[in-house]
Symmetry: C2
Amino acid sequence: MRITQEADYALRIVYLLAKNGGLLDAATLSQNAGVTERFTVKILRKLMAGGIVGSKMGARGGYSLADDPKNVNMQRVIEAIDGPVEISKCLDSEYGCTRMGDRKSECTFHLIFAKLNKSIADKMSTVTFDTVIDDDFDVAAILEKF
Amino acid sequence: MRITQEADYALRIVYLLAKNGGLLDAATLSQNAGVTERFTVKILRKLMAGGIVGSKMGARGGYSLADDPKNVNMQRVIEAIDGPVEISKCLDSEYGCTRMGDRKSECTFHLIFAKLNKSIADKMSTVTFDTVIDDDFDVAAILEKF
DNA sequence: ATTAAAGTGTACCAAAAAGGTATAGATTTG
DNA sequence: CAAATCTATACCTTTTTGGTACACTTTAAT
């Protein structure tokens, strides 16, 4: 039940980009996030694929948020890195656990997993970066919704 | 963000034991849960270590729940197998992220992780096996609390 | 008592995932 | 053109996961 270390790093990288506003190069992000530069770049590419980050090539280039911070949330960032938030493979449509309506034998847990999963995903999507980068953000205000 | 396959199996094994009430041997549990017998035994040992399951040795022996089904919940079972439910290693006391009150640099996320984690754990502990084994259990009744 | 049917304990192993690195190339600014 | 910076693919190592082997102990039934 852990997000990967890579997703954890990604949250911190997105935080830096959101806080900064403009372009930041990979070296700067690497230093500030405490992640090696190559690994930082790998993470940035996944964030770009997820539409969260954009880049400018060439000298004086760098990375920036590709969307409004209020549209970027924990769920989006984590899913860009780790893939869908799914607490059991029984929720994976590829896996094909279709016994949802039939609470017999081994799939007694399908609906329970599904609802729990939705709850987790919903909470993660509540944490948007416009709030997180606010210096005076009221932790309680975000978290009491949980 | 997944529980392990082993924890998933464990939930189904505990379900069988709770549903049955009395002793069931490893072979029977293995067949009904769809898990190899050796792996079933490995899981049962972790459940015993967590105080969830007890055993009777010798011929006609087997395993049974060691606690009232209403005291056995998803969180307990998952933690007996996978260890503490922690969405980030920053929540692990061994890891020593002590910057909780100091929302600077990389630990901007500590309080957010902590609260989200508590929410997940609380929801898991809501799903107790007395309810799950009830044939007529009202899925909505458990899940709408989520 | 003996034997067969259970559970016990430790250790081992292979595959997959996670975490991280290397190298060669493309683009832009000055 | 040269330096700064991003792009793309592939590779490698370590850890975790999932699962197995084997020798041993306990109990029930005969």
